[in-house]
Symmetry: D2
Subunit: 432 residues, 4 copies
């Protein structure tokens, strides 16, 4: 696969960043860590996949005195958005001396005149304590906007670097914005910082906000545990984020290990039948009188799935939390077994909190590296972390798929051990 | 009103508690604090209402060496339950030397043999760190049980003092249990500790768990504020506890002052019409692009109310949160105004957390005073706080009504000022 | 005692506050709650001590359109300062329409030209989220300043109401400022809001910040407990605030009950001798291998006391924490017993945190009532809470002494029971 | 360097772990991630340094039915100790079926009969909620013990796998214990889990507790910031952990960016002279009226250093916090500049808290991998994480040095930018 990074042109201006920190264009970070794989690749003449290191360059592309930058946040909230904004602003301002930084309000809507959203001028003073707040001071919106109008706006505002903080849908738009810019022969760098609370970005170790989300989710599972223990046949049912990948559910379940069942999109399961989920739950209640269930929002869509896509182009999901709540209730009602089910959907109280220290520091580095990469004139590229090195990944590599929980890997195996859960599969099906 | 307290008999045994702490039977705490009222009462020969002070007595009724006590927790979870249990156990054990303390599991069900719930022996070791946990180590259940069977169980187990921690329904049962005990000429003291997270107990300043609930509720309102600001026409809608009284909603709204609308059961409001809630909300969105709404679960029942009562005998409530969510959505959809409504129902994540320091210390005093009052042979009585003094209030005084938010008082006036909200009343109605 | 409140003059202007909230001048709050005492007083013709209720009046003294107010925070930090400032500003602005509100920076220094501190204009925007921050946005300072210069400054700035948030020293100054104003026939109201994290203000139930302080202090005692259990003969020694009163130490010790020894200024104790503190500690270690000690800063001054006063006129204290640390270490070294003492002094991490919800709401009411009282033209008076009613207490009543932990009361008795601690007195002394 | 791992013998017993999770002996994790380096190595025939992957093997060495394991925690407290203990116990019990697990109390002292410490039997019930508690349920101690006596104890107790959780000193002891075991031809596996809150272990990405420490340290810096702003010329001085490496100080400073000065062991600095620390601090106060200083305990030892080593063999450090506090105070006193210095040493309140979610999950994997590696009969080896893979590192590789903050790397460069701090060097010295 090609992980090469586009440049707007030859950077010719001396960087104000200290020489000792400069990164060479030849510095690349290997994707695979396996000594075996690497030796195999090299001995067979295959160039192993590697990413360009991010970081400051000796030469920069933009003339700082004239440079105008814009920052936009898109899609749903995620802890750390303000930290990334702050880091971009402080690095542009203090490390490079950029004095014109615009905050585009309400996501991509902010570029479209008809919405009439105002622009927020971003200075070190404006961003100095925004890290204490959840959400994004720029506000956000979902859904695509007309690409041509966006580039018109960038031209009109005379933007040199556009920093886009968003998810999958945003990066599909970003790639198109880059193409349009190239077609118009504009010199505008488009740099992405991936925002997915689910931590499901391909080629990257982690995305910001995930650490925070897991810590709050784990607390909520603790609440469900208390509620489940507080009544006869108490069931604590927690729906967590995780549209296509169950990383939050799996990690949160491993924190305090109170969950007895963890359902994620990657692991198909049967509801009904002698070895299906409901039967196993019934056995658990008979033995222990309580149960804690954690379900990622993308799990079990074969039971509750609906059609269509949301404004951002993401597949619409049926509400598996409500489905489970209703089906569990009817199942036990039919059996005349009294249960006490407490359903918790903490989505918004997770997305809106300020970042943990860990995410905060991480966001700081993300923002810095986005600035370094943009100042060097690179474009059509996302900045992220791989094996503790900040790297550049082209937009179109990232949008090819999703990182998933490996059902044979260490994470899921730990969850299975911590919960003791089975596969929830009935005989005839496992026979298939 | 008569606030006199029943006694099982004459306490004749010397108390092991230090003499300097003894409370006299003549010590009473005034209900009214108003100098004017008091003077008026006394000058007109009226005995002002006052409560018997709780606290240790010179003489106790029970022979410690033979005494067996039981503790039971009833109804929904509330922060501080474990602290009260711990305090009762430690005070019985260390201050009086009681060695037989039984924990009845799963509320009143625990007395009824058919449920087959086991009994938990309570010792200082068992309770030593339970305050760190939310919920109740005894578990709980809702709904009444056969009074006669309960008293049978008390006799069978040879209980001298029964400590009941519960709400309104529990105290109605407690009064009947006391009557049955009296009818059988048993010498069993029944002591209540009021548990209502809503803080709506008549004659008492505060109930445990309320302080904790307000602090978590305030955090959740903060999340709703962030979400509301995070999208165009963002609406953060938070449903809080408060079946008949809006104390949690009102206090939580006053903490950070992010709420723009607070709806409580005490304050009737109109949804529709030119000055109704929906119109005012629309105006707010037009002006500020976001809004935070806090609604207590008992508010607006004229719009969503249903019939019947739950197993504890409490009136069933319609779900005003869901009603508002749906009605607001349809209102703006009809007007073709895009909104982003985020609905948060944090009930279980509030009820299940451990107590704040403030509640923890308060629960300690509640438990101690319950023990002192029980050891003195008082019965059919609840222990609570009034104007910073621990007092005894007979069960039947407490169940006569609910404490309500005074719509002309300081609390609601502050909420109205903090939110700037109007009465949500249309002209013809206010004319009535 | 006379609790009458001074007025600048006859308030003649109609209040913009809703009539239903007005408080009459005749509404007074009784100091004693004892039915017995009251009856005794009244039957013997003694007027029982009562305080004027705070709250909004029908008529106000100041012409809002011309009124300028000033706020100043003095002395050490205390959680809730920003909440009080915010509440004063919002109430002045929204409830009365006052548009000129000045924040005096760095305490009383801010009035003295030679320091050159700037003035901060306070608006709803400036204070809107300051409650999320610890400390005071106005900054503070210790120590008295020239009274005449302060009044000069008030005249020069044309201040109508001065809100002073501070402790004992501040109120001694406030009384003098009031006198000087009276002598000059100025019409300036001086209103105090008592700030003492120790909760040791006479005649008042609670002071703001205390609730927050107890909750953090309790956490720190939990840390000391963990450290004490983490090593052979581990001793966790925590020094808490409490110059003359041990309320923080006593309450924090009651939260989780991890403390084995609580030393407060009110309870004299012996270090040495067979029943002294060190001997009892040695016995505890022999039996349990660990111990947690909580000491209020004003305890044991006979061992570590020094002379003099600090710039605020408060008695200088010797450092009992360091003294205990050193003496305990040398005691066991002499006995050749290895101990592992971990000393924790969390003072600044307690004083600097944002207020709990409970304190935040309380501060809101304090600020409101301060404004109501000031607008009515009252002066030389402090606003506080007594038995859940906001009241007015003249400065000179408050500075006559300190509220103390009653060694025979419920609080200390609970601490003694929770710790199991003795009096630490040797035979010949108890014989005296 | 040789990273090969010792084996007690050939593992011949089939593992009960699912086959899909087995790791092959050939799976190795590369140390360097640089594509350039790797290509260079391989083209020049050098075998690049790599570590054996941890994880479950197809065959195990020990007969589970007879196996007895022991766990011991050594040295100072660190968040996550209980999580590691819990994970080891649960994995031994549930994944392998081991039924004899002993907790050695008070560190290496627990092996030495003369101390008389009891042994704690560890079961899933015992460890089920210990993760909620800080510290270690086994307690700990510092200092070495006689190696021969330790091995005597292991033989006497018939231990098959010893899990040692500790730091540098512990691993030096562990290497000697392994040697002694080998000399005696015993079949005892010695597995280490590195515990250093400073995150300064060579060859490993992170050590447990570090994440938690940074988050609490960042909060404390926030307190110092509030205190510094709360008084004229306020200085908040925070001493953090970091004996030889400043990772905690650097990361905590990057969270909220309140620190104006960060002093770490790796960065030498001058106190005095025109460009020394004190002069720069003076300038900062003149300009901004406040300053926040963060100092790692190992910084500036040339000013405060002392001789000797502590019982664990670690170099004794002079107290740089107290030194700075005193020197700063005297410096400004001499200049007659009033300052308000607030000194905070949060060491014990950081070490004693429960682990963050992130550390908790990490500790779970550490414990699991330690068990897998031990069951496979590997010995004399530590389990840790490198580039998100769990690996085996021989004891003697780890103890050869410390991981340090790279003064030219991204972390320190960010700190320098966030603080704006200079090198604190005077002309003649930089000239050298």
């Amino acid at each position: 696969m090609d992980a090469s990074v586009k440049n707007l042109g030859d950077p010719k201006i001396s960087s104000p960043v200290r020489a000792s920190e400069w990164v060479e264009e030849t510095e690349r970070v290997l994707y695979s860590l396996s000594a075996e794989d690497l030796e195999k690749d090299i001995s067979s003449g295959v160039k192993p996949l590697s990413f360009l290191k991010a970081g400051p360059r000796k030469k920069i592309f933009f003339d700082v005195s004239k440079l105008k930058c814009a920052i936009v946040t898109c899609g749903g909230l995620c802890p750390g958005l303000n930290n990334v904004i702050r880091s971009i602003v402080l690095t542009l301002y203090h490390a490079y001396g950029v004095r014109n930084i615009l905050g585009i309000r309400y996501g991509l809507q902010g570029f479209i005149p008809q919405y009439g959203h105002s622009i927020l001028e971003l200075t070190p003073e404006v961003v100095s304590e925004i890290n204490e707040l959840g959400g994004t001071i720029l506000s956000s919106s979902r859904g695509p906007q007309n690409i041509s109008e966006i580039v018109d706006a960038l031209e009109r505002m005379n933007i040199g670097i556009l920093f886009l903080i968003g998810g999958d849908g945003t990066f599909r738009a970003a790639a198109k914005i880059s193409d349009e810019i190239e077609a118009r022969h504009d010199r505008i760098s488009v740099i992405g910082i991936p925002k997915t609370i689910d931590n499901d970005i391909l080629y990257l170790s982690r995305s910001f906000g995930f650490n925070t989300a897991v810590s709050i989710a784990a607390e909520v599972i603790g609440c469900a545990h208390v509620e489940a223990n507080g009544a006869p046949n108490g069931i604590g049912l927690v729906k967590l984020m995780g549209r296509e990948s169950g990383f939050i559910a799996a990690n949160a379940a491993l924190d305090k290990r109170y969950a007895n069942f963890v359902l994620i999109p990657e692991a198909d399961f049967e509801m009904e039948g002698p070895f299906g989920f409901l039967s196993v739950l019934e056995k658990r209640l008979a033995e222990r009188k309580h149960a804690v269930i954690v379900v990622a929002e993308g799990a079990g869509q074969k039971y509750c799935g609906i059609n269509g896509a949301d404004p951002s182009g993401n597949k619409r999901l049926g509400d598996i939390g409500i489905y489970l709540k209703d089906r569990i209730s009817s199942y036990f009602r039919e059996k005349n077994i009294e249960i006490n089910l407490k359903y918790i959907d903490p989505s918004y109280t997770i997305r809106s909190v300020p970042a943990t220290s860990d995410d905060s520091v991480f966001c700081g580095f993300l923002g810095q590296n986005a600035v370094h990469v943009g100042m060097a004139g690179k474009t059509d590229v996302m900045v992220g972390i791989w094996n503790e090195q900040f790297v550049c990944v082209p937009f179109d590599m990232v949008t090819t798929g999703r990182k998933k929980v490996d059902l044979n890997g260490e994470l899921w195996s730990s969850v299975r051990e911590a919960t003791g859960q089975t596969l929830f599969r009935n005989p005839d099906e496992t026979a298939v």
